[in-house]
Every structure is written in C-alpha cells, then in structure tokens.
Symmetry: C3
Subunit: 220 residues, 3 copies
C-alpha cells in the first residue's frame, strides 16, 4: 500500500516535471525570439546583410516591406536586403546612418509550439541622401512577424513591415510623412497594403486582447 502510494507520487511528479519542462521551454523561447528580433535590429543598423539573411528560415514564406513590395521565400529576403549593396535606400558611406530600433516587442507562443508570432515598433534614425545632400531623417513603423523553431533554433518565417512615416527631421512627420522610398532588390509582387501617414491605418493584430481574449477593434 505504502509502496503503491510512492509509485503514484512518482507518477504524479513525472507529469508535473514534464509540464514544467514545456512551460519553461516556452518562457525561454520567448526570450530567444526577442533576442533574434533585436539582433536583426543591430545587424540592420550595421548593414550586415549576409547575417540578416541568415536569420530567415529556409522555409521563409515572405518578406513584405509596405513601401517596397512582397519578396517570396528566403531567396526573396536575400534579394531585398542584398539589393542595398548596389546603392539602394540604406546608406553605405561616410556620414550615413541606418538605425532601425526594434522596440515594444510582444511575442505570443503557445507552450509546446514551434511557431510563434510577434509585434514590434521600429524607430528609424537615418542619415541618407536627399536632394543630393546627406540628411537626418526620422521614421516610424510597425512589424508583424512569424517565427519558426527548427533544430532547436528560432528564425524568421514571415516578416511584414508597415511604414508609418520616414521624413527629414527638420520637416517633421506631419508636413511630409514620407519622402524617402526603400530601394532594395525588385519585389515579386506589389504590397498587399501601404497606408502611411496621413492615413490612420490600424496594423492588424495577430493576437487578442490579453485580458478579455476578444479581438481588438477600432472605434474612431
């Protein structure tokens, strides 16, 4: 009898430990995904194009940059980012700056899953040619991103960047919301949506209200 109780206790412990393992993995996965996204930010700032492309899974669905277009697969992501090498929109030379901060990250992951989704804000600080002169620009946008875990490592599966504004600092985002167009490699398809300022576009949320679990809705 006592032995059976002990056996039952061990069985109970095994179930609990298994549950703890799954939950701990999920908490760690969220840390890893944030590390991935923020590393992408550091690489982008520094024009580390090969390293950026390596952050995309071989099974990448698409990269969509709202003011440029849709790039299919990892090959598409590579074409977009490496397009900047040949004189595209991100600055290569002395005095230039290409900071894209990855901020306010929310990652949603069901324990046990090997896919996840995230939402990030991006503050952009640039030093780029404009009317033939290097110009300080400031920008803002929102990322919605899908992640995938393969062989224990998280990578990008799908990335969608929505530009809100990108404008000379001295003019501001109200006067001239977007003056500067991205010019990486050629897209496979036009963007599915492109509504920067002065539009008031709510970038769709991949996740429900964390308290009510209802879909968020605009009422303005």
């Amino acid at each position: 009898m006592a032995e059976k109780t002990l056996e039952a206790k061990v069985k109970g412990l095994e179930a609990k430990v298994k549950d703890l393992e799954t939950k701990l993995t999920a908490v760690h996965d969220i840390q890893e995904i944030k590390r991935l996204q923020r590393t992408y930010g550091y690489y982008l700032d520094n024009r580390l194009w090969d390293d950026i492309v390596d952050l995309f899974s071989e099974n990448t669905e698409s990269l969509e940059i709202s003011d440029s277009g849709v790039y299919l697969g990892k090959a598409g992501a590579k074409r977009f980012f490496k397009g900047f090498l040949s004189g595209g929109g991100l600055p290569p030379g002395r005095g230039s700056l290409g900071t894209h901060m990855q901020l306010q990250g929310v990652v949603n992951l069901k324990p046990g899953d090997d896919t996840a989704k995230g939402r990030w804000q991006c503050v952009i600080l640039l030093g780029v040619p404009y009317h033939n002169e290097l110009t300080a620009m400031v920008g803002f946008g929102v990322y919605e991103v899908d992640y995938i875990k393969e062989h224990g490592v998280w990578a990008f599966k799908k990335m969608h960047f929505h530009l809100i504004f990108r404008t000379p600092l001295h003019e501001g985002w109200v006067k001239t919301p977007v003056v500067y167009s991205m010019a990486g490699g050629k897209p496979d398809k036009p963007s599915t949506v492109y509504k920067p300022l002065p539009e008031r576009y709510v970038v769709p949320f991949h996740y429900n209200n964390p308290v009510t679990n209802k879909e968020p809705h605009a009422n303005f």
Copy 2:
C-alpha cells in the same frame, strides 16, 4: 531502509518541484505583465479605447495623468480614455498620430504574489492640432504602475503617468517643455503632483536599488 530513503527522496523532489513551479510562474508572470503594458501602448497608438479600458481590473484603484488629474476606479479610467472620442487631446482624424511607446520596462514581483509593480518610460510622437494646424510633437514621460492577477490574468490595478515634456518637434523640449494639454473626461480629483520640465522632479521609485537593496536617493 532503502524504501525509506526513496520515500525521503520523493518528498524532497516534491518540495523542489513545488518551489520550481512558484519560481517559473513568477518568471512567466513578468513576461505577461510586460505583454500587458506593451499591448496598452499599441492600443493607445490606435485609439482602441474600449480595448484599453478592458486592460483595467474591475478593482482598479485609480488612473492619474499628471497634466490632467486623478480618475477613480475602472469607471474613472473609462471616462478618461473614452473622453478622447469626443474631441479630446488625442488625434482622431486624417494626418494625426498618437504614438505612446512603452519602453525600458522594469517589473518587480515577489514569487507567489498576485500583485506586482512596474516602471516604464514613454516616448510620445504626435500629430495634433496646435494653433489650428496639425503639428508634429514629441513628448516624454514616466509611468509607475500597479498590476493585479485575477483568475490567472494580469490587469492594471493603478496607473500613474508623469509627463516630463510634450512639445512641438521644431521648438524642442527646452524652449517650450509643455504646450499641449490632455483633455479626456473630467477627473475626480486634481493631480497629486505635476512637475514637468523645467522642474527637475525625480519620479519616486517603487523599488530599491537592485544591488544594495537601499532606497535610491537624489544627491544633486
């Protein structure tokens, strides 16, 4: 004898597993609280007033916005945020912008507790009417927030926003620290403190120095 040892081992394991569960819950809770606060940021950017109000607990104590006043209970929070629907300080129309980034989040939670506290910085990017013209504004402030876990879900219990500056981008925060006043619903009480620039006010810390565990103190 051997059996007794095994029993003792199982008992030890049960205690350890219980301890791990409590600690893992705390680590997960901190992730959930950050997700709540950052989601609040996304909702605020997008004028999702109903969804914002839903992030407040039914047992909300108060919402204090330093340049507006104190709003009591969840009803007060609702009155403040939904006040913007009727033409208050946050922009409704074309060309407008209401970004309030939730940054540098610190959350403090004792394992096992169902309440927690947090501190956040807020960078504000606005496109709002000023002298009858939409104007790019930049702002900054600090949040001190209390959270509560109810039925397994974290919500806001108390929120206090301290405005530091909110000013036209082209004028800067030194020349005109605050030109723009929030105008949601009517407050229940005046603010307990409102000291934006040019004051040098240290927003009180809810937590001690993480290394010395002493209360932080200004010496300037």
Copy 3:
C-alpha cells in the same frame, strides 16, 4: 524489480529537476540583468550618482566612455559618475534634462554561469548648456556590457559605451554629429576607440549570429 524501477525513476527525476533548476535560473538571471541595466537608465536620468556607482561590482574591470576615456575599477566608475556633481557634462539645474534610454537589450548567458554579456542601444534626450544657452539635444550610442553575479546578485563588471552622435535637435546628426563632450572625472587612460558619425563603425559584437552561430561580419 518494481522497486528498482521506481528507484531508477526517482533518480531520473532528480537529474531532470536539477537540469530544470539550472535552466530556470538562467531565464531568471536574464530578467534580472535586464532589470539592472534598465534601472541604471532610470538612475542616470535622475543623476542618482551614488546609486549608479552601487550597481558596479567591487570587482569592476573598467568603464569606458568613448568620448571621455577609460576608468579603471569601481573607483574609476565612481570618479566618472560623481565627476558630474562638480559641473560636468550632465545637467544639474532647472530646465535641464539627462535622459539615457536603455533599449533593444540582448543578454547572453550560459546556464550555470555567473557572468554574462549584453548589448544595448541608448537614445539620449538632453537639455544642456550649449553656447551659454540651455539647448535640446538628441543622441545615440551602443553599450557593450559584462555582468557578474556575486552573492546571488547581478552587477556591472565592465561597461563600454560607444557614442554615435550627440547633437542639438535643431541641427540634426548629419550636420553636426557631436558637439557636446562628456566631462565627468579624469580618465585613467584614453579611449581604445572613438568613432562617432561621420564614421561608419561597427561596434564589435560579443556574440555570434543566433541562427548560424558564425561571427557577424560587415560587407559594405
């Protein structure tokens, strides 16, 4: 036989629980390190010099501020930060501002280790004297930081701040990348590197590409 099986199960559980403990500690450590760095940010904003110095380990190697120099040991860190008390570069008075946001934090830690490394972006919002007039300035930089856990508490072991720009808001980071020099206490040695804009310097990464595990490399 059955008893032996049970013994084996208990042994297996003990190993698993030990492994879970190590992994959970690592996840928690990363949260604690981020809390340390962000608290440093809040203290810096508020000129809480004594509290900042307390965040440095007794075994601090060095503090390097790229536009100032290298400060050795905790004594060096203290000399740098408390140098601001006597009229150095961070603003003491009415109307002044010294915000240094700690953003996009990446922390790398091997489970079981009591040291870790991190990388952070810093957005700087200042109100400081410039040509004898309080002036709104904006800045940007990158931190590479070493952390150490002593008696269960994380502290700074080594800190290296790389300034990218610090400039009047109305001039922008392209026209005048750096106009404002830090002036804390006297350094022990000159900086090992100082390459703000217009240089295009890639601050060395302490960690490899999270997907390929290769060292990141610039190809521009």
